[in-house]
Symmetry: C2
Subunit: 254 residues, 2 copies
């Protein structure tokens, strides 16, 4: 088993941010600057074309650390951030840009490429989780959750179906094509976000993916607006959902 | 104009509960036992077959008063609570019970009867709001919101469309048949709740009513479960939605 190697550390606004690697996977772990010895862990998946320290990731991480006292980890997905791209990655990214320029639907390419990336990413996440649970401040007994939208859902759904350590998850903003069958295997509590006027993902497609989860407790949050207009208050809502299921009170006024 | 006549007062857990009448309409006003001179007002509509002090009403009222510092008012709908039933009321209620016993769909009767009740209830609510705004602790300048599910939505949608004083509303759990055209006139922020496995209201019907609102900011909360299984945490969510739009922070850990 590979262990966590810390490579850098900064602290701001009560949050310790530690860069790490597990093998050749680069990641970041955000933790409370002070607090109890152990705390639950939230795995955060970034969206396509972004990386582990994209503003949406650092923003949500600070919210979860300062509001709920959680540890939050994010790793670069294959071909993203500090990681090399394969020839196949380059090919798919070129196909996506070409479709966008031609005004053609990007859904078929995103669905296919994200499914490919998920196959590479799921074992990487599991190795990372193995290593993070060796840290004394996390441990193997504490609860683990997953929070990822867009590509973060394409990777998170198969990861959650494969790994029983994950006991609550926030998903959303994805097509059902490559995911619905896997979602049917998932029974943990789910909060699912979709945009009611998404110009990429047809409304019926988003609703079909939400419908597929076998979870007895699942909540859909659908907001008026286009694909990239997810309201900021949904991050607060996700924090409250995770706090409810990981057993922490939300302490900020968020 | 008729004014508010207070007929009784009790205090518990930081909440003053005052019974009142406006003309022959009986109501209840919940207020903070201590706080600033003026506070926003939430009008709360109860469900069919219940009344102004049904446990769901008093529970939500305490949440909104202690969590957000609001005033909360609820009046008995026509034919409900302390109010007399007309021959037409008796007829419709008998038809509903008959349909239930026969295992026939109750939707057509509920839709038709609620539309009738809304015609009687909207002017009553407007007279009540006129009177409540004469109270110094409410006033005519402060924001007003509406929160009502089931029959509370059947009455609240036409009320909100008719009365520009209402600037945010929580609706849900109703068929679109008699409401969708009116919902198209509503542009204020909306939070809308539906049950994903509602045995009375088909999923497509609930989604169609949410879709009808012209509001630029609207959020759908759809939860797994049957008609009466709306999760308790949606009351907390409604309180946060109202706090966001009426300009108050949620101070409880709810």
């Amino acid at each position: 088993m590979q262990s966590v190697q810390f490579t850098g550390e900064t602290t701001s606004n009560g949050v310790v941010e530690r860069d790490f690697t597990v093998g050749d996977i680069p990641g970041v772990l955000w933790s409370p600057a002070s607090g109890p010895d152990r705390a639950p862990l939230v795995l955060m998946g970034h969206g396509g074309g972004t990386h582990k320290k994209w503003p949406a990731m650092t923003g949500r991480a600070h919210l979860l650390v300062t509001g709920c006292g959680f540890h939050v980890a994010c790793i670069d997905a294959p071909g993203h951030g500090d990681r090399p791209r394969t020839a196949h990655d380059e090919q798919e990214i070129a196909a996506l840009f070409k479709a966008r320029e031609a005004g053609e639907p990007e859904g078929p390419i995103v669905v296919r490429y994200n499914a490919h990336l998920a196959e590479r990413a799921v074992p990487e996440w599991q190795a990372t989780l193995d290593a993070l649970q060796e840290l004394p401040e996390i441990g193997t007994q504490g609860p683990v959750a997953y929070f990822g939208l867009n590509m973060g859902t394409a990777i998170g759904v198969p990861l959650t179906a494969a790994d029983p350590r994950i006991t609550a998850a926030v998903f959303g903003l994805h097509w059902p094509d490559a995911l619905a069958e896997t979602a049917k295997l998932i029974t943990i509590p789910i909060e699912f976000m979709l945009q009611w006027d998404d110009e990429h993902i047809p409304r019926e497609s988003g609703l079909a993916l939400f419908d597929a989860f076998a979870s007895k407790e699942k909540t859909l949050h659908a907001n008026a607006g286009r694909h990239k207009e997810l309201p900021r208050f949904e991050s607060d809502s996700a924090a409250r959902f995770l706090a409810r299921h990981l057993g922490r009170a939300v302490t900020s006024s968020a």
